[in-house]
């Protein structure tokens, strides 16, 4: 990475404290992170390491207690208002009374895009996530994996250059999960968007990412940043390659090397 590369995200000295009755809880402290345009970065760590909190700060869904965040050189709030990022959560979060098309076009509708332009964009996005035949269905008629694809299409609707994802495949079965991981890398390549991806799955992080950010809890902080350098295509062959296993081991060691208890989630 050269100094001239445009930065999608720049996080400098960010901390987050949640006040509770029992006293302040430090969720994040001293976080420095940059994500280049078009780069795929995963945040990984055990529960309570603040990875989701960090993502919410980048998305301006919560405010940082200290430090500064810049998205494409703007304050996080301005980036949110300008729709510079799209976001997807572990729950698809689709509006059940809207069709697939109605859900995908929601951000466009909110920003006053004309109906015809919206319809064209919806068709494009439905094609991108492979749901062209389902645009008139309602969310309760779709499987979990399909709902999640609708959520990803919605996140991409405003053509953001940054995609924020908070364990979007966490609630899916392993088969669907691997399939959607492949789809996501393809979509990220097609759109050229940078991705910040929160996960607690080591293989998922390694498979998807250019860089993996390892975090640890109490207080939440970044303990390591690992380059994956796995090269261009992400396919099933990659999942079998020695290089891939090597990276998985590296991330696992980075996670467990931290002087706190191990990830106990799976």
């Amino acid at each position: 990475m050269t100094a001239t590369t445009e930065l999608a995200v720049r996080v400098t000295g960010v901390g987050k404290t949640f006040p509770t009755k029992a006293g302040d809880v430090v969720a994040l402290t001293g976080v420095d992170l940059t994500v280049a345009a078009g780069e795929f970065v995963s945040l990984i760590g055990p529960s309570g390491c603040g990875k989701s909190t960090l993502l919410r700060l980048i998305a301006d869904l919560d405010g940082a207690s200290s430090g500064s965040l810049e998205i494409f050189g703007k304050p996080a709030k301005q980036a949110r208002i300008d729709q510079d990022y799209g976001i997807a959560f572990q729950q698809a979060g689709l509006l059940p009374w809207r069709t697939v098309a109605g859900n995908i076009e929601l951000p466009l509708e909110l920003h006053g895009m004309a109906k015809r332009a919206r319809a064209a964009r919806v068709a494009e996005l439905a094609e991108l996530v492979g749901l062209s035949d389902f645009v008139t269905r309602y969310p309760d008629q779709l499987s979990g994996g399909m709902q999640q694809r609708v959520a990803i299409a919605r996140a991409l609707a405003a053509q953001p250059r940054l995609l924020l994802m908070d364990e979007p495949f966490g609630a899916l079965d392993e088969m669907t999960r691997e399939y959607l991981q492949g789809e996501l890398t393809r979509i990220a390549d097609d759109t050229g968007a940078a991705v910040v991806f929160v996960t607690h799955s080591i293989p998922e992080a390694v498979f998807l990412s250019d860089r993996v950010v390892v975090m640890s809890p109490r207080p939440g902080r970044i303990t390591d940043i690992l380059d994956m350098t796995l090269g261009g295509t992400r396919d099933d062959a990659l999942r079998e390659s020695p290089k891939y296993f090597e990276r998985v081991t590296a991330v696992r060691e980075a996670l467990h090397g931290a002087p706190v208890e191990r990830a106990n989630e799976r």
């Binding site: 990022y85 976001i87 689709l94 309760d140």
Partner: protein, 261 residues
């Protein structure tokens, strides 16, 4: 979509339709037996034949009185609901207002409508339907308010996050998220309130006001010993209640079609 998973195995569809009809026919037959055949019923219990007779004979005037009572109930339902929705919206938006309204709503909830009805009827005079409509509106207020307020608080965090991330304005969030989420709750409130409105409007007629309406007729014919005509009016009252209930139930069902997930 006819999904009654529990009863599906126990009873075929025609049984579900036929069963209540059979019960109705049995009751009618017993009634007829006791009153007309055995002639052991008290005088105040007329024969079903006599009731139907009066119902047909006096259909015109009964319908007129039904219109009065139904109109009062509807006016109370509409006005009471609008006020309840407005107050619920205020309470949902501003916490302090919620705190101010809570004891007031609790007070209204425990007021026996019957207790204030004579006062209201006297207040608005013997020629005005307003007292009756007012009683219905008060009765409607509580179920609508409680349900709408609950509905306005049902938005899920993930939906709020999605809208915030899409930079939706407060008004947009209300329109695309809060309102559709609350709609089924509003209609549940309306369904409950619709029956309450009819009862309140009818009962209010027992305590004065103009000499029309179903309740007034039932009271006067019952007192003057024309039991079969009084019962014919009761049938009219039941019809009003049924219409109100069926219409609001249908609306509720339409609105809650797409709420799960």
């Amino acid at each position: 979509m006819s999904s009654y998973p529990d009863t599906a195995r126990a009873a075929p569809p025609w049984v579900r339709v036929a069963a209540p009809i059979v019960v109705g026919v049995i009751i009618l037959a017993l009634w007829f037996l006791v009153v007309d055949v055995l002639k052991v019923a008290p005088r105040a219990l007329p024969s079903p034949v006599a009731i139907v007779n009066d119902l047909v004979l006096r259909a015109g005037i009964i319908l007129e009185d039904m219109q009065i009572t139904a109109g009062n109930a509807l006016a109370g339902l509409v006005v009471g609901s609008i006020i309840a929705i407005a107050f619920a919206a205020l309470a949902a938006t501003f916490r302090p207002i919620d705190g101010m309204l809570a004891p007031l709503v609790a007070a209204i909830a425990v007021v026996p409508i019957v207790a204030i009805t004579p006062i209201l009827n006297t207040m608005f005079g013997a020629s005005s339907q307003f007292g009756r409509q007012y009683v219905a509106a008060i009765a409607v207020f509580v179920p609508v308010f409680v349900n709408v307020l609950r509905g306005l608080r049902q938005t899920r965090p993930v939906h709020r996050d999605v809208l915030r991330a899409s930079a939706a304005s407060g008004l947009q969030t209300f329109r695309v998220l809060t309102l559709p989420t609350a709609l089924p709750y509003l209609l549940t409130g309306l369904r409950i309130a619709s029956s309450v409105a009819v009862i309140a409007a009818l009962v209010a007629e027992y305590f004065g006001g103009p000499a029309d309406g179903i309740g007034t007729a039932i009271a006067s014919y019952a007192k003057s010993g024309r039991a079969s005509l009084a019962f014919a009016y009761v049938a009219g009252g039941i019809a009003i209640g049924l219409v109100f209930f069926l219409v609001t139930s249908l609306l509720e069902r339409l609105a809650s079609r797409r709420t799960p997930v």
